[in-house]
Symmetry: C3
Subunit: 345 residues, 3 copies
Amino acid sequence: MELSLAELAGRTGTEVRGNGAKRVSAIAAIETATGQEISFVRDRQYARFLDNCEAGALILPPELAQRYPGDCLISPNPYLTYAKVAALLNPPLRPDSGIHPSAVVAPDVVLGQAVSIGPQVSIGPGCRIGDRVVLEAGCTLERDCRVDADSWLHARVALGCGTRIGRHVIIHSGAVLGADGFGFVPETSGWYKIPQIGIVRVDDDVEIGANTTIDRAALGETRIGRGVKLDNLIHIAHNVQLGEHTVIAACTGIAGSAKIGAWCQISGMVSIAGHLSIADRVTITATSFVINSITEPGVYSSGTTVDEHSLWRRNAVRFRQLDQLTRRVQALEKQLGEGPDQQGT
Amino acid sequence: MELSLAELAGRTGTEVRGNGAKRVSAIAAIETATGQEISFVRDRQYARFLDNCEAGALILPPELAQRYPGDCLISPNPYLTYAKVAALLNPPLRPDSGIHPSAVVAPDVVLGQAVSIGPQVSIGPGCRIGDRVVLEAGCTLERDCRVDADSWLHARVALGCGTRIGRHVIIHSGAVLGADGFGFVPETSGWYKIPQIGIVRVDDDVEIGANTTIDRAALGETRIGRGVKLDNLIHIAHNVQLGEHTVIAACTGIAGSAKIGAWCQISGMVSIAGHLSIADRVTITATSFVINSITEPGVYSSGTTVDEHSLWRRNAVRFRQLDQLTRRVQALEKQLGEGPDQQGT
Amino acid sequence: MELSLAELAGRTGTEVRGNGAKRVSAIAAIETATGQEISFVRDRQYARFLDNCEAGALILPPELAQRYPGDCLISPNPYLTYAKVAALLNPPLRPDSGIHPSAVVAPDVVLGQAVSIGPQVSIGPGCRIGDRVVLEAGCTLERDCRVDADSWLHARVALGCGTRIGRHVIIHSGAVLGADGFGFVPETSGWYKIPQIGIVRVDDDVEIGANTTIDRAALGETRIGRGVKLDNLIHIAHNVQLGEHTVIAACTGIAGSAKIGAWCQISGMVSIAGHLSIADRVTITATSFVINSITEPGVYSSGTTVDEHSLWRRNAVRFRQLDQLTRRVQALEKQLGEGPDQQGT
């Protein structure tokens, strides 16, 4: 794929400065970009790279464009423009349409136009596959699943019974949607399994990362809202609700029936307890543990960060005496007639 | 599936009040249940839903049944009765028996009665598959595995060489049992791999969640005791022993040779170090880090929970000075002739 | 496989004491080893097992060999010798060479000598498979992947477009290499996907655990250095660089563009933030959270460890008041004319 700067400017709504006829064939990082490639500088932080830059062209914010003599696209949001240029120069290599002869498709499955069903795919009875859907090698769909138009499941995605996938959804390899939620009732003889008879519903424009798991509801639905983006190795338990456009980074786990708002940003290795609510536009930093509902937008954190080991060990021991330490301070304050109230703390 | 309240009462050991001939076809949450559906109220906490309830019948504890005029099943444990009613109304849709023509089964594999071997299943030499076992699409069994009667492996489960699965075991999609444990010895040139020549043994009535991994032993067995329930994305390292009826929630990791007792309840995102023992009936709360053995039953916790970010940052900085702070308090106590002993703290 | 002690001594560079002609057929733990088996004692910690030991032979360090009358191999590093003896007695059961008829291999794929392509493997256009490579059942390789000589992919490994795997690499079941990195740019209407057009490159002698995910780079490469060992359920984000011989335990997550040095030892459930650097020979203990670069070798830790729940709860509450507590201590010090400086703390 090769495009001129003028074409790229037109299709990204940016302004070209210099030789609009110059053609570029790829996008690359500014440290490595060559004359046939276009690169970008996101902000002043990377401005130092401008001097030795050998890229054929750059995507720059206005303030940096002034300092750069070469051909460039001027954008108020160079990072977004980079993403759009990368998409224009790298159209996805869609597998050919058709059903591979090694695929196993139940007789009653309804297939849309121009679907691409790869090798060793298995589609159970009652499934409906929309137009232009791609199911790569080894995907397994149990009975009564539905995948709407233009969605793309990478190799070895597994959908449990009744899973509903919207339009323009991307699911990466190894993800499992619709496995049984984790529900048991104790008996003297052991744990009695609660049948998980609900489903997983994924709305349009969602992306789900590799080896992430989303469990089917005990009753009703586990719901992934429109535009949600999930990274790899995330666990979404039964009956969780994720609001629109919420993004969640890798290794995070959300327990049963938690209700997460829209436009939340949840970082990696976060634990969210069950049966709570998180408001819209809440940001949670990495490794945090959320045990109660969060009702106000804002940034929330927990955890501690690394120190040299022997220092950490001393502090960690003191943590286990922290309540006692606080009471010792109270005793000192009492003895001195001091107190938080008197100090305005 | 449709059953009368009298039938449900008889098969769940509960008492029917009202019209025992009324038939219900499904179970639903009380907020959404309609006239053909039965629902349940677990305890007083949800009693408020009784007034506007449109369910055809309810499962209630005695004290709530008094306040409800409609048809109901009266149970000392409505949650357990709900699970049993859900099971009666939703018998699992077992795939047809037989071996799908696309499955690859080694010639010497011993197959029991009425097994169901799905599309693209691969079974290596020396495997034994018990009566009524279900292996869904894409399951892979390396050589010499054994899966006993009435166990059900969902799509794309992988069993490594020699894995032993008991009776009535359920394994969800993407789980990997019997991969090599993580063992290496340092040499100057790199890490020398310790051959992992043991196996994984899973006893009867175990359930294993999606994308969970259980590694084979270096020598001997990694052992999952009878009735254990494992959620998704759990890591069980080589030579771990899990006692009977222990339940573990998602994203928890247990390091090598840890020995966990029976009837433990381990929550999500818990880390358990290797080569330690945990007693029976120990409960560990979410995100805890267990670094030493636990010898007494009880509830154990660690970690910190979220605060507003700027408050958290100040506290996290102070944590790194906690030992120093404690010594400062000691100095003050000394100066004042005070001390923990004198305060009885 | 059966070997004499003299043969084992010769092939492991150790000294045999006693009957060098004695043949052993297996290696076992010292508590269970029988007369046909060889076992080992790593150090004095396990010396108590020597007395009742029924093993046919032992691998011992010199100081313990003095206290043991039986046949033994004397080694300065019994643990390494155990690993080598285990490898000699348990040569890997390599599947037969050839391409299983159910495998789907694109016409232009270049296959080396003596490859073993298992059932239901799918290999896309443009792939190159080196000599003696093993691809077990259900592996999926998207277009333009390369797997070099003597590498072994266990069942159901997925490689995304362009993934490069070196020589003598072992990848366990369910691992996903080359899925899209997690990159989006916010727009008012939602998150715009940043095309992930880089690749994953894995150097020689790497081992990757079950269900671990390694994402392809946004631009350029995600690089796993020579001799790196990764455990199960690890997340390696796009553009991460792992230095040679670094080992990482299970459930750890590393965010985008982090650069980890050589010979690091990173324990389980560790979180490492993105866009930072970690020096060579850094050890990070389990559950740590690394938020800034680490420039010096050493051992680093964070987190807190379990206490009895009610004690933990009191301390965790105090943690949320820790900054306030520190200021209260400062006030007391001020009132008493005391201060850290005067105490030399």
